[in-house]
């Protein structure tokens, strides 16, 4: 059974006159050890859908299993713990905490889990070294370039070894070359037989990095493609990425 399975997910916003149906029955699967891209026109519901996968939103209807857990059935305290332990997030706008330096930002998920700040920082530094940011550990986000900030955000998304990685337009705020480097790095460090990575993107130049591409339109999944494996840039995919 695939790591992530959804059937007939529906979601609408508002009530009465203004009620809009955003997801109209999404059937979706994603495998661990793969990068699944979610693509489609603006407003088709991609962000809404990954919010449901990552337990930020609850679905109105349908069934959903994430590594055997059904977030729709969790109580609110368990939902918080589910996000804390199971999910890593990467955002278009990086969303680093501006008052914390790079290493502190990366350490936040561990601190939320209760790891001591000192230990958390040590592990954060190791992750940043791995991502080539060893020289920038003590810099504030405002002192880093967009590509560097997004690499910090990737380290933050992975430091607590989440089984689900969700990225919403991770390259949209970056120039083409930086975007390519970031997705390459993401592929290199995030892929792991225990982890499913789901990446929402508009950027078709990075499609070759996908294991699968799921196309959405108007609140539904229309079809899934496997890009030509020959086009995936030849890079060793590491099974074990923990620094």
């Amino acid at each position: 059974m695939p790591a992530i399975v959804t059937t007939g997910i529906t979601k609408s916003f508002g009530a009465g006159e203004t009620r809009t149906s955003v997801l109209r029955g999404v059937d979706f699967e994603a495998e661990a050890g793969e990068m699944t891209f979610l693509v489609g026109p603006s407003g088709c519901g991609k962000t809404t859908f990954i919010s449901i996968l990552s337990a930020l939103l609850s679905a109105d209807g349908g069934a959903l299993s994430v590594f055997g857990t059904e977030p729709n059935r969790l109580k609110s305290g368990d939902l918080v713990r589910f996000r804390r332990d199971m999910v890593g997030f990467v955002f278009q706008q990086f969303n680093l905490l501006p008052a914390l330096d790079a290493a502190e930002n990366v350490a936040v998920p561990l601190i939320i889990q209760g790891v001591s700040p000192r230990k958390a920082r040590q592990r954060a530094c190791a992750w940043l070294e791995l991502l080539g940011l060893g020289a920038h550990l003590g810099k504030l986000p405002s002192e880093l370039s967009g590509g560097q900030q997004q690499r910090v955000a990737i380290a933050r998304a992975l430091i607590h070894e989440p089984r689900l990685l969700v990225c919403d337009e991770p390259t949209a705020s970056l120039d083409a070359e930086t975007g390519r480097q970031v997705i390459e790095l993401l592929r290199e460090v995030s892929l792991n037989p225990e982890r499913a990575a789901i990446i929402v993107t508009h950027d078709d130049r990075i499609y070759p990095y996908a294991d699968r591409i799921a196309f959405m339109a108007d609140g539904r999944l229309t079809h899934v493609e496997r890009p030509d494996p020959a086009r995936i840039p030849a890079r060793p995919i590491r099974g074990e990425t923990q620094p």
């Binding site: 930020l56 589910f82 997030f89 955002f91 278009q92 905490l97 501006p98 998920p109």
Partner: protein, 380 residues
């Protein structure tokens, strides 16, 4: 997470300073006005506070305050002396008069005439000279404040001549006295002397000061005096209380200070509330990210409260520091504001008020954070 909360706070230094200053300002206003209020009303009882060794104050039942006595007949002194448990009873004549220097400077003063023999009721803090000097003819003891008013800029010295109601008096000693309420300058002299300075005939006793027999309960003796003489006899603390209550009930002091203090609290709530809400609003996205990453509402609440408490503490410390600096600066022997201080009870009350102010001010911000939808992290 507390470390992160504090970094967020100090990362936004402008708002942080705004918060600290809002709280410091309201702390300063409340502490300064509170201390001022206490200092001012306790002035009314300062002549009672200063009278050393007096256990019981006997007065006409119509006397309400230490500074506004109704005169009693001289014979009452002997009746009080006859009461069991009274070790010594001495007369005190009190009046407010004007002191005048030959150079034409003048100052109002509270004139206290104590028993010629015992000098009971005199304040013991003599800066120049001693109580015994009062036994000389025309002798008076003036306090430092009065001296600086009558001879501004001159070094403290005895032997100066002044006029009291067209009669000559010589300053033979200088005391350090707590100022009175109606007249801040305090003058001590012998009773016989006082009677010659202050117009009127016999039967002008203001108070009878009683020393109790050792080991006897002053309260019981006071009751015995009241019962046997029909006069009002109060222990020293009771009389201080009665005087201050009278001032509180018969002047606008309490309400007018109350208004300023309440204003300080309201300004504190508004400034702090507004700034803190702005601060949290600016950081809402960050709180949403933390919430998305699995930080519980309880711990978010802890972060916001920690931020509020830290600014409250810093603001309170600064406000109290400035207020106590103010009181240190004004509480000088020659200052018109001498005798004002910052009682620790006021500091504690202001701390409580600050805690309430900050709690109220952070309510809106806390509500925002608790209701924050973590799904907004994906929205621009």
């Amino acid at each position: 997470m507390l470390g992160i909360a504090l970094k967020m706070l100090f990362g936004d230094i402008v708002k942080m300073l705004g918060l600290v200053m809002g709280i410091a300002f309201s702390t300063l206003l409340m502490a300064q006005q509170g201390g001022f209020f206490i200092g001012l009303i306790s002035r009314a009882a300062n002549t009672v506070t200063e009278a050393q060794g007096v256990a019981i104050w006997v007065m006409d039942p119509k006397t309400e305050t230490a500074e506004g006595p109704t005169a009693m007949r001289d014979v009452e002194l002997y009746r009080v002396r006859g009461v069991e448990g009274v070790r010594q009873a001495s007369p005190l004549v009190q009046a407010t008069t004007t002191l005048r220097t030959p150079q034409g400077r003048s100052s109002a003063a509270a004139f206290l005439g104590v028993d010629d023999a015992s000098l009971l009721g005199i304040n013991p803090r003599f800066v120049v000279g001693s109580p015994e000097d009062l036994r000389r003819p025309d002798a008076i003891a003036l306090d430092q404040l009065g001296f600086s008013r009558l001879w501004p800029g001159e070094p403290l010295a005895t032997g100066k001549e002044i006029e009291v109601n067209d009669r000559r008096a010589t300053v033979v000693a200088i005391t350090e006295a707590l100022p009175g309420f109606t007249a801040p300058v305090i003058v001590y002299t012998r009773l016989s002397q006082a009677l010659s300075y202050v117009p009127g005939g016999r039967n002008r006793l203001s108070f009878i000061l009683v020393e109790a027999e050792p080991g006897r309960d002053p309260r019981a003796i006071a009751q015995a005096i009241s019962a046997q003489t029909g006069l009002l006899a109060l222990t020293t603390p009771e009389f201080q209380r009665r005087t201050i209550d009278y001032v509180l009930n018969n002047t606008g002091i309490a309400p007018s200070f109350g208004v300023v203090i309440a204003l300080g609290a309201v300004v504190g709530i508004l400034v702090t509330g507004l700034t803190f809400t702005l601060f949290v609003n600016d950081n809402l996205k960050q709180f949403a990210v933390l919430k998305a990453m699995g930080l519980s509402n309880w711990r978010l609440l802890g972060m916001v409260l920690a931020q509020a408490l830290v600014v409250a503490f810093i603001g309170y410390a600064i406000g109290l520091w400035i207020a106590s600096g103010f009181f240190d600066a004004v509480n000088q022997p020659f200052s018109d504001l001498k005798g004002f201080w910052l009682p620790w009870q006021i500091a504690v009350m202001v701390a409580g008020a600050t805690a309430v102010i900050v709690s109220l001010a952070s309510l809106i911000a806390i509500r925002r954070v608790l209701r924050l939808d973590p799904a907004t992290v994906f929205r621009g």
